[in-house]
């Protein structure tokens, strides 16, 4: 009798915990039990390694809103979990949730993971949410990821502001809509932004101790 009671109590507490987590995460109420459990598994795994679980729930809700199959939703949530982890690692040491989300978005459109690390190196103390968004937009527009990343990272290193990076993306988008080749538009607009930035410091004759 005692064992049975303990078993029931453990079942009840497990269910309560499950419900509590689901409510905190606000998974769409129309999700069926199977999907709810699958998403919760991903959420628990993400929480365990410090990833923002809200983004996983949002992805699941997106799939539900778009009436995707439970399997497709589960796959998308799992894939996003992996991208978030990669983004978090590449944007170390202390990326914000917005940065991790933007990084995962960039990875989704095909930006190679090491580029995120280079961008962090260029802006170690500033939020990368917008530069990553700009890069994502350029790549989604059809620009080669490495070329777009090179331009954005160079501009960041030269001291470009968020507004200048945003203007770059808008200008390229307008040019492409007007019929320009994406790479030509990017080169032209990047030169335009570059001309507004302070010049790079001149190389010092004493920077290389091996040379006399």
């Amino acid at each position: 009798m005692t064992l049975r009671r303990l078993f029931l109590i453990s079942l009840a507490s497990g269910a309560a915990a499950s419900v509590a987590h689901a409510q905190a995460a606000r998974l769409d109420a129309s999700a069926d039990l199977g999907l709810r459990r699958a998403v919760e598994r991903e959420v628990v795994a993400a929480r365990a390694i410090g990833l923002p679980e809200r983004l996983l729930i949002a992805k699941a809700n997106e799939g539900i809103a778009k009436r995707a199959t439970p399997k497709r939703i589960t796959d998308a949530v799992a894939a996003l979990g992996k991208r978030l982890q990669v983004a978090r690692d590449q944007l170390a040491p202390n990326p914000s949730e917005d940065e991790i989300a933007a990084g995962a978005d960039a990875l989704y459109v095909g930006v190679p993971a090491p580029i995120l690390k280079k961008m962090r190196a260029a802006w170690p103390d500033r939020s990368l949410a917008l530069p990553l968004g700009v890069l994502t937009e350029l790549v989604a527009k059809g620009l080669p990821a490495n070329r777009a990343a090179q331009v954005v990272t160079d501009l960041m290193a030269r001291g470009a502001t968020n507004v200048q990076l945003y203007a770059l993306a808008q200008s390229v988008q307008g040019d492409v809509a007007a019929g320009w080749a994406p790479e030509a538009a990017l080169d032209l607009r990047a030169r335009g932004v570059m001309s507004l930035l302070p010049p790079a410091p001149a190389a010092s004759a004493f920077t290389n101790p091996r040379r006399p």
């Binding site: 917008l130 968004g133 989604a140």
Partner: protein, 380 residues
């Protein structure tokens, strides 16, 4: 009925050809009508609506025919225009004329014409209005005057919209009122009826539900009668250009439109025959655009604008709404939604009349893991 019907359709065709319409709709169906004190009759219903939208002026004309056995029939026409002031964009003036010829079982044949005007003041997703109407009904040479004052308010709350209307009507159309349940005997002199109406509409993905409830207090000579009526309607969108509509309920006698008190059940198919705005010509994108304005507090406001017809149902969703559809609002001449967004990338999409979600035309389009698409917005 053939003469007036032909005139009505010819008039609609002439107006349509001359004014280069933005939209022509046709609705055809069947109905069961039962006027007070009579048995039910099957009827055919055919209606045509023409509409033209310009920057500040919207004009519309419509004609409809209802024909039942036992020579019950009505041809109704409406011509109206709405003007929006450039300096006071929240204010609009609407005016028009309506007319009908009829041969009703419970009444004698005749015709009616009415003028109406209304002033509207929009406020956010709702507004207020006040208006007046005046008309004459003629039956075999006898003219009977009617006039009304109306005021009301409307509002939209998410996917629900509500309208409250108060109307006071004074009418000498004793034939019409005597044929209704208000009152049961024919008095001498004018009737005064006061109506309070609540209209509720709820939109779902491809379904609109409508409920209208009216409470009427009326008084004739030494007669006072209270009455009430309910109407329910549903429109199911089969595609962006076709909808199946079902409606049922009771219509209280309307002296200005010469409509008798009747119960009805109708099923009809509404088809969009022509639409020249981008909704149909560029159905893949709806002529939707998105732009971002920075706000002083460091964030930004995303404005979505969709060039669809004002009668369409336009929604947006995206990361900002956790992918829950948000109804857009009709502002000036387009559908609009403003959303405050934090810095960073976001995704949005729009749809018209429950069809496929699409990225606004000026945004970079990205496909998602679920086979859909959205526009990428980067907020500085």
């Amino acid at each position: 009925m053939r003469g007036p019907a032909a005139v009505c359709l010819l008039f609609a065709a002439h107006v349509a050809a001359a004014q280069a319409p933005d939209e022509i709709r046709m609705e055809a169906g069947v109905a069961s009508l039962r006027q007070a004190g009579n048995t039910s009759r099957g009827a055919g219903v055919l209606g045509v609506t023409w509409r033209r939208s310009r920057e500040r002026v919207v004009t519309t004309a419509s004609g409809s025919l209802t024909s039942a056995r036992d020579s019950t029939g009505t041809a109704v026409g409406l011509l109206a225009a709405r003007y929006q002031f450039a300096r006071f964009p929240k204010w609009r003036v609407e005016t028009g004329i309506s007319g009908a010829v009829f041969g009703l079982t419970s009444l004698r044949g005749g015709g009616t014409a009415a003028l109406f005007t209304r002033v509207q003041r929009a406020h956010g997703p709702g507004g207020l209005w006040a208006g007046a109407s005046s008309g004459t009904t003629n039956r075999f040479g006898h003219n009977m005057q009617s006039s009304s004052l109306d005021a009301g308010a409307w509002g939209e709350f998410g996917r629900t919209s509500a309208t409250v209307t108060g109307v006071m009507t004074r009418s000498y159309d004793t034939d019409l009122m005597a044929a209704s349940s208000l009152p049961s005997r024919r008095p001498v002199g004018a009737f005064v009826v006061r109506d309070a109406t609540l209209t509720l509409q709820q939109s779902f993905a491809a379904l609109d539900l409508l409920a209208i409830g009216t409470v009427r207090a009326g008084e004739g000579v030494a007669t006072r009668v209270n009455d009430r009526a309910m109407t329910f309607a549903a429109a199911f969108y089969l595609s962006p250009v076709a909808a199946l509509t079902v409606s049922s309920g009771r219509q209280l006698a309307d002296p200005l439109r010469a409509l008798p008190d009747s119960k009805f059940l109708s099923v009809s198919l509404r088809i969009l025959l022509l639409r020249r705005d981008p909704t149909v010509l560029r159905i893949d994108r709806y002529g939707a655009i998105a732009f971002v304005r920075r706000s002083p507090d460091g964030g930004a406001v995303l404005t979505l604008r969709v060039l669809a017809n004002s009668s369409a149902r336009v929604e947006a969703y995206g990361t900002f709404s956790d992918w829950q559809p948000v109804p857009m609002q009709w502002v000036l001449d387009a559908w609009e939604l403003q959303v405050p967004l934090p810095t960073g990338p976001h995704r949005v999409a729009v749809r018209v009349n429950g069809s496929q979600w699409r990225a606004p035309a000026n945004l970079t389009r990205v496909t998602d893991e679920f086979g859909g698409e959205a526009g990428l917005v980067v907020v500085p």
